[in-house]
């Protein structure tokens, strides 16, 4: 009984080739491959910047150039002007805090609700329509009401984040819990295991890739929620949304663009961070983790 049968298998991904190679193979990532992957999106960025310059200098007269300042002016203000840089940094930090709080609450709540729905048909029947309602009611329409009820500061901002990012957490977790292959369920059925054991050892681990898919979507949404909250709730620590609005009012267009970029960066960062955690957790065994975004 040796590993001789390896050749018989039609699985191109299987790694151990020789009986001696009994160690799990390490992941490889060559720098050249990384560079090749980065090249196409960088080329697109080049085209966009060129188009931007063209629009600034060819389409706009000097008097109207404040509508679209050239890229280097935005970079200069955003990165090298100490005052603007400090303002933007602090605002982004404050927004990140709100978004992170919202995301944590939304994911805990979403996963809990999804587990409850997966355990009993009647729970799902009674709750799921309301979860859909959460998705279809325009959050922007109830934001003023939230402020009216809960005040115009941190708490309300977090609540907006929760409302906006809860639905993807519920649906993705529920989908993951309910799409465990029946063959794996059989393995637990023959042992007559309890519901809790089945949940802990089978359904939750199997749902992790879906949970991370939900987290990736919700992370971006939570940042959006935090910025939306900023526009409506003007008390407390000012976030990037409020700063953007202030810069607009002051016609400080270089700062305005820099702030917009900073907020996009925050969204991207949230997405990448959650993605990296997901890769570490499930990438080892799940296909989606092995592919790169």
């Amino acid at each position: 009984m040796t590993a001789l049968d390896v050749k018989n298998e039609a699985r191109p991904r299987t790694v151990p080739v020789a009986p001696a190679a009994a160690k799990p193979p390490a992941k490889r990532r060559r720098p050249t491959r990384l560079l090749l992957d980065a090249l196409p999106p960088l080329a697109v960025a080049g085209v966009v910047v060129a188009g931007w310059y063209a629009a600034t200098y060819l389409l706009l007269t000097p008097q109207r150039r404040f509508l679209l300042p050239p890229p280097h002016a935005v970079v200069q203000k955003g990165l090298f002007d100490a005052q603007a840089r400090g303002e933007i940094f602090h605002a982004v930090l404050s927004t990140a805090r709100v978004a992170a709080f919202g995301l944590v609450i939304a994911s805990l709540l979403g996963i809990t609700l999804a587990i409850a729905m997966s355990q009993a048909r009647w729970v799902q029947r009674s709750l799921y329509p309301w979860a859909i309602l959460l998705q279809t009611v325009p959050i922007l329409a109830i934001v003023p009401l939230i402020g009216f009820w809960w005040g115009f500061d941190f708490r309300s901002r977090v609540l907006v984040c929760v409302l906006i990012s809860l639905f993807p957490m519920i649906t993705n977790t529920l989908f993951g819990l309910q799409s465990v292959p029946s063959g794996l369920h059989d393995v637990f059925s023959i042992r007559r295991v309890s519901r809790v054991s089945r949940l802990v050892h089978l359904e939750l681990p199997a749902a992790l890739p879906s949970i991370f898919t939900g987290l990736r979507i919700s992370a971006g949404l939570s940042v959006i929620g935090a910025i939306v909250g900023d526009f409506f709730f003007r008390q407390g620590d000012p976030g990037i949304g409020r700063l953007i609005d202030n810069y607009r009012a002051q016609l400080a267009s270089e700062q305005l663009f820099a702030a917009i970029f900073a907020s996009s960066l925050l969204g991207l960062l949230a997405f990448l961070l959650v993605g990296a955690i997901g890769n570490r957790t499930v990438g080892r065994w799940h296909d989606s983790g092995r592919r790169r975004p």
Binding site: M1, T2, A10, P16, A22, P24, L184, I190, R192, A206
Partner: protein, 264 residues
């Protein structure tokens, strides 16, 4: 249906650890899946149920495993939960080979050192010691099937159930796995109930072949296979072996022809 939890002795012969008497199964839509299935299984016996697809072989196995309930007759199963080897390896993809093999012991909350010993033992039995830390996707199909075997063996069950475990692998590997199973059987002397639609597999593995007829599924003929375990590859070219295969084939053909007549 009466369901007795512990095995009851049959006079003279060693006690059957699994016994089906007049077992019947009717699906809610009225289809008679099984009728009058009788089966006694003792330790050291490997019985194969062979028959055309749709004859209810797998239903027998699912009833024995408690995954389905019989609608008639009597089923006596051992108190200890049987080991079950599925058609697919059905390994948890996030657990390493060790993690998969020790799953049942972990669910039963077995103490750590007993767990380790049983796992090492099972891995050695299927020859996967050096692949213990691999994840299922890093293994070939044959090794995945061996890991699934180790998982079924780790609780040291007296009764092992096999639901066409080698149906999805290629011919050469299938024969090698059959030889390994024969060795395992010789070493552990459990009671085995094996489902297959391959006549050669049935004769090679079992001490007794039971041919089933479909619609409703019932036992057509019982054929004893005298060759001692462990059986080796050369047995397949033995004339006695080939004759037995022919006998089972003919029996199966008779069983199948009933079906064709009925369908016409």
């Amino acid at each position: 249906m009466t369901f007795v939890e512990t095995g009851q002795g049959v006079a003279a012969a060693p006690a059957a650890i699994l016994s089906l008497q007049q077992v019947a199964k009717t699906w809610p839509d009225g289809t008679h899946a099984l009728e009058e299935v009788d089966l006694d299984l003792r330790k050291g016996e490997l019985v194969t149920l062979v028959g055309p697809s749709g004859c209810g072989k797998s239903t027998v196995l699912r009833i024995v495993a408690g995954l389905d309930a019989a609608t008639g007759g009597q089923v006596v199963v051992p108190e200890q939960l049987p080991g079950f080897v599925f058609q697919q390896p059905n390994l948890l993809p996030w657990r390493s080979v060790v993690g998969n093999v020790e799953l049942f012991l972990q669910l039963d909350k077995a103490p750590a050192d007993a767990r380790r010993e049983a796992v090492d033992d099972a891995l050695e039995l299927v020859g996967l010691e050096r692949f213990r830390d691999h994840l299922p996707h890093q293994l070939s199909g044959g090794m995945q099937m061996r890991a699934a075997l180790a998982r079924a063996l780790v609780t040291r069950p007296e009764l092992l159930l096999f639901d066409e475990p080698f149906a999805a692998v290629d011919e050469l590997l299938r024969e090698r796995l059959q030889e390994e199973l024969s060795r395992l059987f010789a070493a552990r002397r459990f009671a085995g109930l094996f489902i297959t639609h391959s006549v050669a597999e049935a004769v090679f593995l079992s001490t007794r072949v039971m041919v089933m007829t479909p619609q409703p599924g019932t036992i057509e003929e019982v054929i004893d296979v005298p060759f001692p375990h462990p059986r080796v590859a050369e047995l397949r070219f033995d004339s006695d072996f080939v004759d037995l295969c022919h006998r089972v084939s003919r029996s199966m053909r008779r069983a199948g022809s009933d079906l064709e007549v009925e369908n016409r």
